[in-house]
């Protein structure tokens, strides 16, 4: 089994996770994924990469508030957590996690995903 597949399987074990994916911010490409995905997932992944790029730009010159670490998106029924991974190539990668809101707590999920994130690219 590939290293990324193994890492995403660990993320899938977090309560309420429906899907997990590694997204290349520079291209919007889904590098590897696991779990339930819709047909439009590649387009959605590209939008998330755009979102991360815009969020970085919004942090302003010199990023006085610090670098972008995570983007959380909450809808009626879902939680989306996009964790920026420390990648020294290109514009970096996002660990995107799609959770069922009825089965997950956003603070707990963020903490658990954050704990697993550093190992994804290691």
């Amino acid at each position: 089994m590939s290293s990324l597949t193994e890492s995403l399987r660990r993320v899938m074990a977090v309560d309420g996770v429906r899907a997990a994916a590694l997204i290349d911010i520079a291209t919007g490409m889904v590098v590897q994924s696991a779990g339930v995905e819709g047909r439009d997932f590649p387009a959605a992944a590209a939008s998330m990469a755009d979102e991360a790029r815009m969020a970085r730009a919004a942090l302003g010159p010199g990023r006085p508030g610090g670098d972008l670490d995570e983007i959380s998106l909450v809808t009626d029924c879902r939680l989306h957590i996009s964790k920026v991974l420390d990648d020294r190539l290109g514009e970096g990668m996002l660990l995107f996690v799609d959770l069922d809101r009825t089965r997950a707590n956003i603070a707990l999920a963020s903490r658990q995903v954050g704990r697993l994130a550093p190992a994804v690219l290691a």
């Binding site: 590939s2 990324l4 520079a26 291209t27 889904v30 730009a57 190539l89 290109g90 190992a119």
Partner: protein, 298 residues
């Protein structure tokens, strides 16, 4: 049936036959830019093409891995008969997941470049796969082709010219207060009106598609302006700027290197049905002492 973007159709035809047969070997693609798709058990392990930087270039030119470190790892892998990927990870030069991510993005970039170009013919050569950094297990051809199609559609939907692969740009002064984003300062330093997105991608150790998107964003921000082919030719014709062979010598005020000269014109052929003799039905016939054509009976 809906026609596929670029040369995705011919590549899909060939790769699907190889995948169905679980072929291990190389699918050689002739065209512009053309290349070699290395397959293991029908999955794509590596792609070599002059149109896109491979993993080695991405790691070295981006300074993610030093040349001395690469050479040491290569020598150690060759001596021990081990694998380069394992050697790089063992030496903590790059993480296992990071390297896998790099190999997957490099494959997608190379497939995008092949699919954006022209495919004149292809030939399957079953046999052992020999490349420094294969993806193991390989990537599904379907996924790579879908990503190539997505990229072609994204570029086609952007405003402006549609031959972005041949776009040349020059840097504009950076307005006061504007903070340059990821890699933009390096692009500005290299954007001299002669380098194509491919040249910039090779120079910086970035993917070609990522470079094209970055160039578009920088144009939209007014940091770059395109140089038309006509202006380029006019600059080349200017007295004192043309060599004996008619090639531009000093466009943009910088010395001209051989690799920066305009590529010779090539016969472009629109992607479409391949000649009957190249149809993939007989592609997997093992080659013997001579090159057996796919439709030939032995």
């Amino acid at each position: 049936m809906e026609s596929e973007e670029g040369s995705v159709g011919p590549l899909r035809e060939a790769l699907m036959v190889c995948a169905a047969a679980g072929m291990s070997g190389t699918l050689r693609v002739t065209g512009d830019p053309g290349g070699a798709i290395h397959l293991t058990d029908g999955r794509v392990a590596a792609i070599e093409t002059p149109g896109a930087p491979g993993p080695e270039v991405l790691l070295l030119r981006s300074h993610r891995v030093t040349e001395a470190g690469w050479d040491d790892a290569f020598a150690a892998a060759a001596t021990s008969g081990g694998r380069m990927r394992a050697e790089l990870v063992r030496r903590a030069m790059v993480g296992s997941g990071e390297l896998e991510g790099l190999l997957r993005t490099a494959l997608a970039d190379a497939m995008f470049v092949l699919a954006s170009g022209t495919v004149e013919e292809y030939r399957a050569e079953p046999g052992p796969v020999e490349c420094a950094l294969p993806l193991e297990p390989g990537a599904e051809p379907d996924g790579l082709l879908a990503e190539a199609s997505r990229r072609i559609r994204v570029l086609a939907a952007l405003p402006g010219r549609n031959d972005r692969g041949r776009l040349r740009v020059v840097a504009m002064p950076v307005p006061p207060g504007v903070r340059l984003g990821e890699g933009q300062d390096e692009i500005l330093a290299l954007a001299d009106g002669r380098r194509s997105p491919r040249d910039l991608a090779f120079a910086l150790g970035r993917g070609v598609y990522a470079t094209m998107l970055l160039l578009v964003r920088m144009q939209q921000a007014g940091l770059l302006v395109p140089v038309s082919a006509r202006a380029f030719a006019a600059a080349a014709r200017t007295p004192g700027r043309t060599g004996s062979g008619g090639e531009p010598q000093d466009v943009g005020g910088l010395p001209q290197r051989q690799r920066d000269l305009p590529a010779p014109s090539r016969r472009l052929r629109a992607p479409g049905r391949l000649p009957e003799r190249l149809m993939p039905l007989g592609l997997l016939r093992p080659r013997t002492g001579r090159d057996v054509s796919p439709g030939e009976t032995s």
